[in-house]
Assembly symmetry: D2
Homo-oligomer: 133 residues x 4
């Protein structure tokens, strides 16, 4: 199993905030998916090509999120991702969102993404996707 | 040509606002599309069925928007829509967003939506879609 | 403790979907917050007034979400909410998203919302907010 | 008047697309605002600091957008911005969205942003903001 942590920077824009003055709570999920997309890309997997050529899509099947502190407009954030387990038909990930530069942890999450076929049915992870996970 | 005005109510939620304390400027476009979707539905056209059964999608091709006053969290809004012209391959609409109950006009817009085929190429409006427009 | 279930209808629009053909996973959180907002409103609490007059805001502090089946463009959904527990400074809610009319459960979630003061610090729930919870 | 063009790269993620398979039409406005935010930052103006320290916010007051071709999941885009005119209380900008690497123009827009005070009333641009514009 890989224990390496992937990191992806994200900047907060107005579109991400709400009138409470902080980032809207569902937007952190978008940030975490950007990091998953870039992590897969860094491993050679374009999700749009996976869908087009092999009829495979990843979909979030389970989430646990702890909101520890809020992010604000203009904040520079770092999204982290660690593969906790490669199941037969899903990946279990740990993700965090940190504020740069003081490295405060804002979000701690576990995310399970399922491998789905073209009919949105769970299917086995192909052997070339994270075979060592 | 029909000169009737279609109306659709929308409530403002936190997700729609930004840290400036008002509705984020691109969200008004979403509100206006909800009204277009409901207007088409009221005329018997489900966009998901149009896409699935006839390979036809509407897509915005041109927009002009004037932002006159902002909407806030919890505001009750009314979105209006008038068909200005039915072109051969597009619809020209006038839309407004009003705040209820004082009826302040917040947004004035003209929106052109093009009829596209399954390859995102402009195509003629079928004769059963707004033949009188 | 109240065991009544509050319900709020939501329609799926294009803005909510992604190129996988289904509702984007973070949007369900927005739907669930709309139901919380309307539930509070039904009990006499406008969140914008709570913030303005008493400096109090609710913020999600913890989430667990199970994605059981996807929603699609044009789907009519029903969002449900049950108060599981009224803590000293937070509310624990159970929420579900059902597809109408076949009543398929799409989402099961537990959501904890914390009461925060004007500095985003946890504070006690005022005695007039759900005193019987 | 400056005729320099500012550029800002944006990657398309699932959150940005809709079930038509392309980027949702209002999301391009978010992309264009990210470029405006980064352009102001490159000139030394943090919008969150402008708001906090001087009670000044920029708000879109007028938009014209032509949608020429769609962007897709995983596309790498370049957002451009040229200052067309510095009015007394607003900036007039020309913005485009290009697809990298073939440089197809997807969007052409003109955007007017007004300088507003803490009460959302138009106010004069301070003399240190783009004095040469």
């Amino acid at each position: 199993m890989t224990t390496a942590t992937f990191q992806w920077p994200v900047r907060v824009y107005y579109e991400d905030t709400d009138s409470g003055g902080v980032v809207y709570h569902s937007i952190y999920l978008n940030y975490m998916e950007r990091a998953r997309t870039e992590w897969l890309r860094s491993l050679g997997f374009d999700q749009s090509r996976l869908a087009r050529e092999r009829g495979l899509v990843f979909a979030v099947s389970q989430l646990e999120v702890k909101y520890l502190a809020p992010a604000h407009m203009d904040d520079q954030l770092m999204i982290t991702l660690t593969l906790a387990k490669r199941g037969g038909a899903s990946l279990h990930l740990r993700q965090e969102i940190h504020r740069v530069p003081d490295d405060t942890v804002l979000i701690r999450a576990t995310v399970r993404v399922a491998m789905l076929d073209g009919h949105f049915k769970p299917t086995r992870l192909p052997s070339d996707i994270l075979p060592w996970g």
